[in-house]
Symmetry: C2
């Protein structure tokens, strides 16, 4: 059962192959994600992961882990604070800030930080519904 | 150049193959996206597209079309109002609501609606930066 102040953490990283596949399926073929030469001339210096690929970790965790099966995604805000890079270890941290029992809904703070440096890369807030696990 | 009240529309649809590939690359293998039998027993009745796959259309358009190359994604809010299904025609509509010249930044209203019924499925607001195209 989801409770207020509950936290969940999930470690992840993406490879260049993941990024290339994400570009194929979404059609988002911005060269800053795919071409090291091109990326080297941008402010990022090397290829960055699509913001939505990074954010997909929130969807994955909600859908299959915390709270898991039956979760309906209602809202998500995303602040892209720092780029995510391939082959770097990140940690997603989820903190339940509010439970609205009569709507089977919870508000969850969602962040991604660099596992090594602790620097915050992505933050935001989600609203999720789950009739079995949020009461 | 991006100007206030400017709009851009983009038509898209996703196949079940796209959804399966998205599940592979993100690890979001919630059965509601992948298994028609499972989905038939949920409130959705048939497999739904991952919310972040639907939302990736915003990232794609900003990164490669409007305003295109050089765009840096700062923020995106997402309200998942209705599910998106495979093989259905959708229209993404972008409306520039604010231009902050000194920061080369624009606020853009982003929506996805069913092309046939006009029903709103996804809405939100983006903040993007582009040094060449937002002045």
């Amino acid at each position: 059962m989801i409770e207020i102040n509950q936290t969940y953490t999930y470690d992840f990283k993406f490879s260049q192959e993941d990024v290339t596949l994400f570009a194929e399926v979404t059609g988002d073929k911005n060269l800053v994600h795919l071409d090291a030469d091109f990326a080297s001339k941008t402010v990022f210096k090397r290829p960055i992961i699509h913001g939505m690929l990074g954010a997909s970790v929130f969807s994955k965790v909600f859908g299959v882990m915390f709270p898991g099966e039956g979760t309906i995604y209602l809202k998500q805000s995303l602040n892209f604070l720092r780029p995510l890079y391939v082959d770097v270890d990140y940690e997603a941290v989820f903190t339940v800030t509010e439970v609205i029992s009569k709507k089977n809904t919870a508000i969850v703070e969602t962040i991604v930080k660099n596992k090594l440096t602790g620097k915050l890369c992505l933050n935001g807030e989600a609203s999720i519904m789950n009739e079995d696990k949020i009461k």
